[in-house]
């Protein structure tokens, strides 16, 4: 079937069973696409010598859904729901990035309340994503119970997300021009309850893991990859911060009002699985700090920009004012138009740098929408990380990367 490729590509010759220096025969192992620890349908072709990995080649694309192509056929606000499906564990970061990109093209001013709501919800989804990561990562290393403890808090988080947006996972809460709905009545109480409980829960995770010598043995010094390699290969997010590079778009290129918040960019210098765990754990605390600041300083006012051509009018106005009804009709039927141009906007998702590159030709649909997803870049760093490690270390290293296959394959 190779001839089916349109262009004659000089393909690399198939790797022969190689002789190692010690002469032992190597075994090729297909890890995935159905393997419990590849978190989805990642396939890694591993060459083993005993239990040591001599070569590893990730093979992605099993979850390719063609979202970029679909986006070209949807109107600007329909795309929002597609961005949810890219990284389904931190969908709000994708929403936010998309909204920011389009707003940059539209040159919209976003009211402060909307910005605060966006920040708060994005931080919620960051905690959510880190919790899922922590649970599954520890499960990979063999401890079952942690998974359930993490999902206990995640359940509370999802309840909050549902309270705000009506949806648990695919919230589509952040829209172009603001957020979908204003914060519901009584949200402060719900969020405050979570904010009060959660720090003790993080301490609990820390207690459970930090005092466990097996966990420390399994994570410390495992999954090392040099900083130069990481930057070259496009690894971002907690992995890079675990190596001591304070690359965090919230700080380096502030967006959506992050400059107003007081938080630390968590770094760690050990550059191993343990460091990434530390970074994510402290990031949960920092996110909580941001949420607390949102809770205390939530401004009043509108939750959507004053842009009638872009933002759907309120229900009340639509029913009473002719003009609003016309705008509503136009936005819903043909969508709003976005001026010609191209924009690149990067934000910090729980997994690293997420960026949308949008080319508009002035119509009501994106001409080209490219997603720079963190998992794709991070997975490039897999091979140098696990070559020379043991199978068990591969699992730990894979888990520490925290990739989402939907995010990788789009």
């Amino acid at each position: 079937m190779r001839s089916a490729i349109d262009y004659p590509v000089e393909s690399r010759p198939a790797p022969e069973p190689q002789e190692s220096p010690s002469g032992q025969r190597r075994m090729t192992l297909n890890m995935g696409p159905q393997h419990p620890s590849t978190h989805g349908v990642l396939r890694i072709v591993i060459e083993l010598e005993g239990e040591t990995i001599t070569r590893a080649e990730p093979d992605i694309g099993y979850l390719h859904t063609g979202i970029e192509k679909q986006c070209e056929t949807k109107t600007w606000q329909q795309v929002t729901t597609l961005t949810d499906r890219v990284d389904y564990l931190s969908n709000l970061a994708n929403n936010l990035c998309y909204a920011l990109t389009v707003e940059k093209l539209l040159q919209l001013e976003i009211p402060e309340r909307a910005q605060f709501l966006r920040v708060m919800m994005t931080e919620f989804s960051r905690i959510n994503s880190h919790l899922v990561w922590l649970g599954t990562h520890v499960l990979d290393i063999g401890a079952m119970s942690m998974f359930f403890y993490c999902f206990r808090e995640r359940e509370e988080l999802l309840r909050i997300l549902e309270f705000f947006s009506g949806q648990r996972m695919m919230t589509s809460y952040i829209r172009v021009g603001g957020v979908a709905l204003d914060a519901p009545r009584g949200w402060e109480k719900m969020v405050r309850k979570f904010v009060e409980v959660f720090p003790s829960r993080v301490d609990e995770y820390e207690n459970l893991l930090e005092k466990n010598p097996i966990w420390l043995n399994r994570t410390k010094g495992v999954g090392y990859i040099s900083v130069e390699d990481m930057i070259e290969l496009g690894v971002t997010g907690p992995m890079l911060r675990g190596a001591g590079i304070p690359m965090d778009a919230r700080r380096t290129e502030p967006y959506s009002g992050y400059e107003k918040f007081d938080f630390q960019v968590c770094t760690h210098t050990d550059n191993d699985v343990y460091a990434r765990y530390r970074v994510r754990l402290s990031e949960m605390r920092e996110s909580l700090k941001i949420i607390k600041q949102c809770l205390e300083g939530m401004p009043g006012g509108a939750f959507q920009a004053d842009a009638p051509k872009v933002v759907l009018p309120e229900r009340e106005k639509m029913k009473t004012q002719m003009e609003a009804l016309i705008y509503h009709f136009k936005i819903v039927t043909e969508g709003f138009r976005v001026p010609k141009g191209e924009v690149y906007q990067a934000i910090e998702s729980p997994r690293g740098e997420i960026a949308y590159y949008i080319v508009s030709d002035g119509t009501s649909k994106p001409y080209r929408l490219h997603m720079r997803t963190p998992s794709f870049g991070n997975l490039q760093g897999l091979s140098p990380m696990i070559e020379g490690a043991l199978i068990a270390d591969t699992i730990a290293a894979l888990g520490s990367m925290d990739f989402v296959l939907g995010d990788t394959d789009r």
């Binding site: 075994m27 192992l29 393997h35 419990p36 620890s37 239990e51 520890v138 499960l139 990979d140 290393i141 063999g142 401890a143 079952m144 119970s145 998974f147 359930f148 403890y149 206990r152 466990n212 097996i214 966990w215 043995n217 399994r218 043991l390 199978i391 068990a392 270390d393 591969t394 699992i395």
Partner: protein, 400 residues
């Protein structure tokens, strides 16, 4: 009565109780782990999921036995049988009560065990060493790379951990000067100052707490339990050696694992925890079984009648409560007390050790392969040797 017929009756009884217990250990494990993990565990089949093991067994038996086409058929079928065979045989040497018990209303006297071997412990060691063949063969015959790695891991792991295990066992043998399981327990009878039982872990001149711990750790490795469950590590090797097995063949491995658990826990009970001897002086100790049962029944009644948490609790819990209290009252009858109190103590100690196994499974992560080997050879093995040396010196210094 004829020796053969009596043996067959005992065999049937023990086998029935043991097999049921194996299924219910699974239920206990699921319940305990569920409660550790903030879940409720099985509760749909029967009250509190008590019929779940039955449902599981029916499901596993009636399930289609898938056999992949690429396996080595002879060894693929042989492996689960080997595993179960070597896991079940040791049960027949394990004494669980006193010798020469007279069964009430008859003039039969018998031992509370299937066979009394004067080399019982050695045989158990030998058979547990054979248990690895089931796993290694399954791993090899499945003709799957994951299962092959699992089989390799398990054979290396079993050889490595058998050493500290055997060395840990030698110290109590040294002190009690026998290898017969029954005599080992008999040697642990009595109390120091009427308080501290003369179990091997407290026995002068060299209390064997260290070798008890070493034995338990090695037992975890020998039974492939967390944190040493590398042969079947589901996150690395999918399911390791039994990845290609389904239905009863899979259940056979499962059963073998639990039977092995019961065996090692029994050995630990017999060797280190004084077997069927009570934890306090018999004058009090004989009444503890009744007390425990009546207490448990009272708790059940309270929760069932006063504070029913779930819908059916006001029916199911009182039934359990009455049953427990009835058992407790049964333990007050002198004949029954004499007959069953040792069995109660043995079972209680066994269950506590099994609970430790389950507890650890819910708590600890898994070792890495090289760490596991290093732990066995660089930590456990020298420690067991040193312990043996010290015990030997102390025993030599105190005798004659």
């Amino acid at each position: 009565m004829d020796f053969m017929i009596l043996s067959l009756i005992k065999l049937g009884l023990v086998l029935f109780i043991f097999m049921t217990a194996l299924a219910y250990i699974q239920w206990i494990e699921r319940k305990v782990i569920a409660h550790v993990q903030l879940r409720v565990g099985p509760k749909r089949v029967g009250p509190h999921g008590l019929l779940q093991p039955l449902a599981d067994v029916i499901k596993l038996i009636t399930k289609e036995g898938m056999v992949p086409s690429h396996v080595n058929h002879v060894f693929y079928y042989l492996a689960p049988f080997v595993a179960v065979f070597f896991a079940l045989i040791p049960i027949s040497f394990i004494p669980f009560g006193q010798a020469n018990v007279k069964i009430p209303f008859t003039d039969i006297t018998t031992n509370m065990e299937l066979t009394d071997l004067n080399i019982g412990l050695l045989l158990i060691l030998g058979l547990s060493g054979m248990g690895v063949y089931g796993i290694a063969l399954a791993g090899w015959a499945s003709n799957n790379k994951y299962s092959l790695i699992g089989g390799l891991r398990s054979s290396a792991q079993m050889i490595s951990y058998e050493l500290p295990m055997a060395l840990a066992l030698v110290s109590p043998l040294l002190m009690l000067n026998t290898v017969s399981l029954r005599e080992l327990v008999n040697g642990q009878e009595g109390f120091y100052f009427n308080v501290i039982p003369r179990w091997t872990i407290f026995l002068m001149p060299a209390p064997q707490i260290l070798s008890f711990i070493i034995f338990m750790i090695a037992a975890f490795a020998e039974t492939n339990r967390v944190p040493f469950d590398l042969p079947e590590a589901e996150n690395e090797l999918v399911a390791g050696f039994h990845v290609e097995y389904a239905s009863m063949k899979f259940a056979a491995f499962f059963m073998a694992e639990y039977a092995n658990m019961v065996t090692v826990c029994s050995v630990a009970t017999l060797l280190f925890l004084g077997g069927w001897h009570p934890i306090v002086v018999p004058a009090i100790g004989d009444w503890i079984p009744a007390l425990v049962h009546i207490g448990g029944g009272a708790i059940c009644l309270y929760h069932g009648l006063v504070q029913p948490a779930r819908k059916w609790d006001n029916i199911t819990l009182p039934v359990f409560g009455v049953a427990f209290i009835g058992a407790g009252l049964l333990f007050c009858i002198p004949i029954v007390q004499q007959l069953l109190a040792p069995v109660f103590w043995f079972t209680a100690k066994l269950l506590i050790l099994l609970f430790v196994f389950i507890w650890v499974r819910a708590t600890l992560p898994r070792f890495r392969y090289d760490q596991l080997m290093r732990f066995a050879w660089l930590f456990m093995f020298p420690l067991a040797l040193v312990n043996l040396l010290i015990t030997g010196l102390l025993v030599a210094a105190t005798t004659n």
